[in-house]
C-alpha cells in the first residue's frame, strides 16, 4: 500500500494492546454463527421457498428448519446475554460506557466520527476500543437483538408444551398487540440485522486495510496496535 508510506514506517513504534477479552470474542463469534443460521432458517420459515414433492411422511424440511432455528436462538440468546454481562464485568473497552455516549467527550467524538465517515472532515477518530459512533451502533443493534428475543419468545409460547417455563413469556404478546405483529417485527428485525452486518463487515475490513491497526484481526486475537495518537 504505497499510499501510506509514512504510516508504514511508524509500525515499529506501535504498541500491541489486549483489547477484546475472551468472553467478548466468544460472544461475537457465537452471535455471528447463530445469526447466519437464524437468518437462513428464519427466512425459510417466513417464506418457505422449497416445496417438498410426494408424500408428507418422506420430508421434514420445515420441521428441521424450525428445530435448527430454535436451537440457534438459544445460542444467540446466551451469547448476547454474556456480552451484556461483560459490559459490566469486562475491561474498559468492553464496558457499557463505551457503547453509550454518556460523556461530553464521547459526544464530541460522535460528531467527529460522523463527519469523518461522511467525508466532511479529514480528521479521523482513532480509538483503541469503539469510537462513539460505532459504540452507539452496537448499542442499537443489541436493542434490536433484544426485540428479536422478545418477539421470538412470544411466538414460541404458543408451541411451548404445557408447564414449560417458556410459557412465562406469554405476557409479551399483548405488548406487540398479538402474534402476527410480533412476527412482522421479528421479520423486519432480521433485515435490520443483515443491513447492519454489511456495514459491520465493511468498516473494520476497510480500516484494517488502510489504517493497518489490526482492527479486523483483533476480533480473532483480541489485540490491536496502539498508535501514538489514539485514545483509549
Amino acid at each position: 500500500m504505497s499510499a501510506v508510506p509514512a504510516h508504514a514506517g511508524e509500525h515499529a513504534m506501535l504498541e500491541r494492546v489486549y483489547i477484546w477479552e475472551l468472553p467478548v470474542r466468544l460472544a461475537h463469534w457465537l452471535l455471528f454463527f447463530s445469526i447466519v443460521t437464524l437468518a437462513v432458517t428464519g427466512f425459510y420459515i417466513g417464506h418457505p421457498f422449497i416445496s417438498a414433492p410426494g408424500p408428507a411422511s418422506a420430508h421434514f424440511i420445515m420441521g428441521r428448519m424450525r428445530s435448527v432455528h430454535l436451537y440457534a436462538s438459544i445460542v444467540f440468546t446466551l451469547a448476547a446475554l454474556v456480552r451484556v454481562y461483560w459490559a459490566f464485568a469486562g475491561n474498559r473497552y468492553a464496558r457499557w460506557s463505551q457503547l453509550l455516549p454518556v460523556s461530553l467527550e464521547r459526544w464530541r467524538s460522535f460528531r467527529q466520527a460522523f463527519l469523518f465517515y461522511t467525508f466532511l472532515s479529514r480528521q479521523s477518530v482513532d480509538y483503541l476500543g469503539h469510537n462513539a459512533l460505532a459504540g452507539l451502533t452496537y448499542a442499537g443493534i443489541f436493542a434490536v437483538y433484544f426485540v428479536m428475543m422478545a418477539t421470538g419468545f412470544a411466538l414460541y409460547t404458543v408451541y411451548a408444551p404445557p408447564g414449560s417455563p417458556m410459557q412465562w413469556f406469554g405476557w409479551l404478546i399483548p405488548l406487540f398487540h398479538g402474534l402476527p405483529i410480533a412476527r412482522l417485527i421479528h421479520h423486519i428485525g432480521m433485515w435490520v440485522i443483515l443491513v447492519f452486518a454489511v456495514a459491520h463487515v465493511y468498516f473494520p475490513v476497510l480500516y484494517a486495510l488502510v489504517e493497518r491497526n489490526g482492527v479486523f484481526d483483533s476480533i480473532f486475537s483480541g489485540y490491536k496496535f496502539k498508535e501514538p495518537g489514539s485514545r483509549e
Binding site: 418422506a58 480528521q123 402476527p180
Partner: protein, 376 residues
C-alpha cells in the same frame, strides 16, 4: 335410573340412554378428564340441581346463541342445556318488554350471588353514549348490575371476551369486553371464538355440574381444555407444514391434496383453540378441514391483527408486507452494500491525496469520567 326428569325428557325425544352416555363420554374427552369420569358426568348431569342462568346480549349478532342452539335437530346437549334454568335470554324467551325485564330483575334480586351470567356481545364504554340500550338502560349499567351480582360470569364469544368486531378499529362505540366493562367481576370465564364452540360451552357447564368448580384457565381466563393448545399443533394438515408442502394458490394441486394453508395466510399458528379436535356442526368439519385458512377468531383484536386473512403478515399503512417486505429487505441490504463500495472507493481516494490528520491527543481528554470509572 331412567326415571329422572331428564331421562323421561330424553325418551320423549327419542334419545336412548346409550346416546346419553355417548354424550357424557364425549364431554369427558373434550374436557380431558380421565377414564371413568363419564359415569360421574352422567350422574351429575342427571341429578344435580340446575344452576340458574341469565343470558345477556349486547353488541352482538346472536351468533353465539345460534352456535349454542346449533340451529339443527335437537341433540342431547340441547336437552341438557334446556333443563338448565335459563331464566332470561332475549332471543329465546317468549316474554318481551317490561315483562322480560321484570324476570331479569327478579332473578338478580332473588338469587343474588347464586346465578351464572352469560354475556354475548361487547359493551359500549360510555353509559350515556346512547349505544346499545335495553329497556332504557345502558348495556354498561345492566352488565355491571347483573355480572356484578353473579356467582360467575361466562363471556361467550370474542365480542364479550375481547371486544371483538365492535371493538375493531376505529371502535366507534368504544366497545369493551366484559372484563374491562365490569372491573373486578367474580369468576370470569372467557369462551372466545367467533362464535364460541357450542361443544366447549356445553363442556364448561358439564364440568361445573360434575366437579362444582371451574376448570383451569389460561392467561386470558379461557379454559385450558379448549384453549390450551394452538390450532397449528392439533391440525390435521400439520404433517404437510413440517414436510414443507404448501398451498400456493386456491385450487392448485397442493390445495386439492389437502396441503398446509400456511402460505395462504392461515392464522392457526397464532391461535389457540381445540377446533381440530372438536370440530364444528356436530363434528361435521372445521374451516381448515374444508380448505380454508384459520382467521384467528379466538384471539384478542383478531379483526385488527389477523387481517388480511389471506396473507402471512399484516399490512402496514396499506402496504402488503407479505409481498414487499423481503423485496425491501433485499433492496436495502443491496443499497447498503453498494453504498459501502462507493464509500470504500472514496476512502481510498482521499487517502491517496495524502496522510490523514490523526486526531491530536487531547491534553485533558484522557482522564474523563468513562475512563476513571473503568476497571483496568
Amino acid at each position: 335410573m331412567a326415571h329422572t326428569r331428564l331421562m323421561r325428557e330424553l325418551q320423549r325425544q327419542g334419545v336412548s340412554r346409550r346416546e346419553f352416555l355417548t354424550f357424557c363420554a364425549s364431554m369427558a374427552t373434550v374436557l380431558g378428564l380421565p377414564e371413568g369420569s363419564a359415569a360421574a358426568i352422567a350422574k351429575a348431569v342427571e341429578n344435580e340441581k340446575r344452576p340458574i342462568l341469565v343470558w345477556l346480549e349486547f353488541q352482538d349478532c346472536a351468533g353465539n346463541t345460534e352456535s349454542f342452539l346449533r340451529a339443527s335437530h335437537p341433540t342431547v346437549a340441547d336437552l341438557v342445556l334446556d333443563t338448565i334454568s335459563l331464566n332470561y335470554h332475549e332471543t329465546l324467551m317468549a316474554a318481551a318488554g317490561a315483562q322480560a325485564e321484570g324476570v331479569l330483575d327478579e332473578t338478580v334480586k332473588q338469587n343474588k350471588g347464586n346465578y351464572i351470567a352469560l354475556v354475548e356481545g361487547s359493551i359500549p364504554g360510555d353509559a350515556d353514549s346512547g349505544y346499545c340500550c335495553i329497556g332504557g338502560r345502558s348495556a354498561l349499567d345492566i352488565a355491571r348490575e347483573v355480572c356484578g351480582n353473579a356467582a360467575a360470569t361466562i363471556a361467550v364469544g370474542t365480542c364479550a371476551t375481547f371486544g371483538g368486531i365492535p371493538a375493531a378499529r376505529p371502535n366507534p362505540t368504544r366497545a369493551l369486553s366484559v372484563a374491562d366493562a365490569v372491573p373486578g367481576v367474580r369468576n370470569l370465564i372467557n369462551m372466545s371464538a367467533c362464535p364460541a364452540n357450542a361443544e366447549n360451552i356445553t363442556a364448561l357447564i358439564v364440568y361445573y355440574l360434575t366437579l362444582k368448580q371451574w376448570p383451569p384457565l389460561d392467561r386470558y381466563r379461557r379454559p385450558l381444555f379448549a384453549y390450551g393448545k394452538s390450532i397449528h399443533d392439533g391440525c390435521e394438515r400439520r404433517a404437510h407444514f413440517d414436510a414443507g408442502q404448501y398451498v400456493e394458490s386456491w385450487g392448485d394441486e397442493a390445495h386439492r391434496h389437502g396441503h398446509c394453508l400456511y402460505k395462504m395466510g392461515c392464522k392457526g399458528p397464532a391461535t389457540s383453540q381445540n377446533c381440530p379436535n372438536v370440530g364444528w356442526n356436530e363434528h361435521t368439519n372445521w374451516p381448515i378441514g374444508c380448505g380454508h385458512p384459520c382467521i384467528g377468531c379466538a384471539e384478542p383484536n383478531f379483526w385488527d391483527v389477523m387481517t388480511p386473512f389471506y396473507q402471512k403478515l399484516p399490512d402496514v399503512a396499506g402496504v402488503n408486507t407479505d409481498r414487499w417486505l423481503d423485496t425491501v429487505g433485499v433492496g436495502l441490504t443491496g443499497a447498503v452494500a453498494a453504498g459501502v463500495v462507493v464509500h470504500g472507493i472514496g476512502e481510498v481516494m482521499r487517502r491517496g491525496r495524502g496522510r490523514l490528520v490523526v486526531e491530536e491527543k487531547p491534553a485533558a481528554g484522557k482522564g474523563t469520567g468513562e475512563q476513571a470509572g473503568a476497571k483496568k
